[in-house]
Symmetry: C4
Subunit: 180 residues, 4 copies
């Protein structure tokens, strides 16, 4: 089924200070994570943020922190947040659709996304909000995830499916502030 | 199975005046929608045209209107024409093969096409007659739809499958007027 | 399973005089059809050649005719050779693996290949020996056929799978005359 | 499931002296095979190396030999190492996940990988450590293998999945020596 805001949770993976500068198209990726977090807040979708060894790799980027005041932040040691156990008790456990973005696309994003799929979730990875240091790795990850039935989407697909229809006050707001 | 003109309906999605100018390769996309509508008329395939909030986004392009005098026009408020309900009672409901084109490929075309697939239709999206403002969104939509078993085709595939064979008067006409 | 020369038949589709000049990379495509026919002859794989309305579109290219003295030539009127019925009684009917090449990739090659697949054959379409006037059509055809479980291969894959092993006299001959 | 070092064996296919110079991006491919063998040794994954008619095509590259002192070397005559029988009694037979790299991607790598898949293995082909003389053949092989459920991965995916988590001494070593 399409993404539905009542079923969705946004999972932002490891957008951290000491990793971000090395990511291909880093500014676009982090800006799109911010955009997704803002749209999620506006339509009422909960947000979970993972941080991989923040004491080593740094905290989540300030731009993301600023727009996720209500998000649940969890630390992890396994590359796969699902295998780590850090998602237990979060909205990721409660909601059937997980929209995943962040870095690196072929490491923590992919391992988390595949494990969530095998745990029974419907998983959507946001291509224009996910990156790797080397874009060839990112592209291989997208193809590999497609092969397992995950959906590789764009941030606009997420927004339009969460909104479902035009003509509402909510659509007008999101369209004016984020899409135009 | 291949596309067959007795089983097919052509669904033109939201080729509207205030959206068209912003679509990548807009002229090619709308010209190919016109081409498909003309071939459909020649081989006897019914046409349905959707308009999303025409009072805001404008009516269907005049070039498309001019070649669809017998088409059924329906307005909609949901991005997915299938979810909206506007296709009820149209040929889309009656025929098993729906050939979809229009804009935006990653929003209304994709949502409609996926919902039609999940409603049991065999869905063919015409790549060279479907567009988005940003072509990266269009390409992600085509890949995502492929993952759900939809067929991404070209306008020529549609015409040759509807015609099925050479040597007929119908083939000569369509070949002379549209393919050569 | 891999291609096996005892199970295979080579089907060359519509490499005809009045169509060939308009095909993208026409010389490469027809040269590779010739190459496949020669390798087929050397390893003992039968060849079937289709011609679409030869009285209008011309006979098969002389270069192909010259290397297929033992091939079965059949005329057809449907774009799909399988739907046409012209393959009845040929080796295509008797052998489970059909290796398809020719033109146009998105019309007669694709319609024939899909119909053969749906008739229960294992179908391999040779990418570097199949073409369309517009290469975008060819690429869409390859993706569409992949979605139905057909295998898009290269001419070298065909040769190496037919040969199966090195060290034989047959391998030395084919390697010396065709691969090096 | 993801790659796991307790389940994995690394299979290096035909990285041989008289073939290597003709491979597209030969130096990158062989360097990445060396890299994978080194990481495998560090994390305790066994390595098997095939050589196709070494008396004709030469032995495995010295750079690979130097880092595989404990590997099992096997000769073969069939292009598919699995069909050849040379993998019998090796770790490939005992472990369920086979990580494959080497040359040529569309001949011996592909035939071996497909046959291993059909024999029940979970097969991962390392894209940036596998090559062909003509890169178009390599790309067609990757797509064809995807169609059969094989996973096309990158060397970094292999390393991070074998490591599974940060914070360990093993991770620090591999990260310092191979990833940074």
């Amino acid at each position: 089924m399409l993404m539905n805001r009542d079923n969705s949770v946004l999972l932002i993976v490891d957008v951290q200070a000491k990793l971000a500068p090395f990511i291909h198209e880093s500014e676009k990726i982090s800006a799109n994570c911010v955009w997704l977090a803002q749209v999620a807040a506006r339509v009422g979708v909960p947000v979970v943020v993972t941080e991989h060894f923040p004491e080593k790799i740094g905290g989540t980027l300030e731009s993301v922190r600023a727009v996720t005041p209500d998000a649940r932040y969890v630390g992890k040691q396994c590359f796969s947040a699902q295998a780590d156990g850090c998602l237990r008790g979060t909205e990721v456990e409660r909601r059937p659709q997980v929209i995943v973005c962040g870095t690196e696309a072929h490491v923590c994003v992919q391992q988390t996304a595949l494990d969530l799929r095998w745990a029974g979730k419907q998983v959507f990875v946001v291509a224009d909000a996910s990156g790797s240091r080397n874009p060839a790795n990112r592209d291989l990850a997208f193809e590999r995830m497609r092969g397992h039935g995950l959906e590789i989407v764009s941030r606009e697909m997420v927004a339009f499916e969460w909104l479902q229809r035009g003509g509402t006050e909510l659509f007008r707001e999101v369209n004016r502030d984020f899409i135009r």
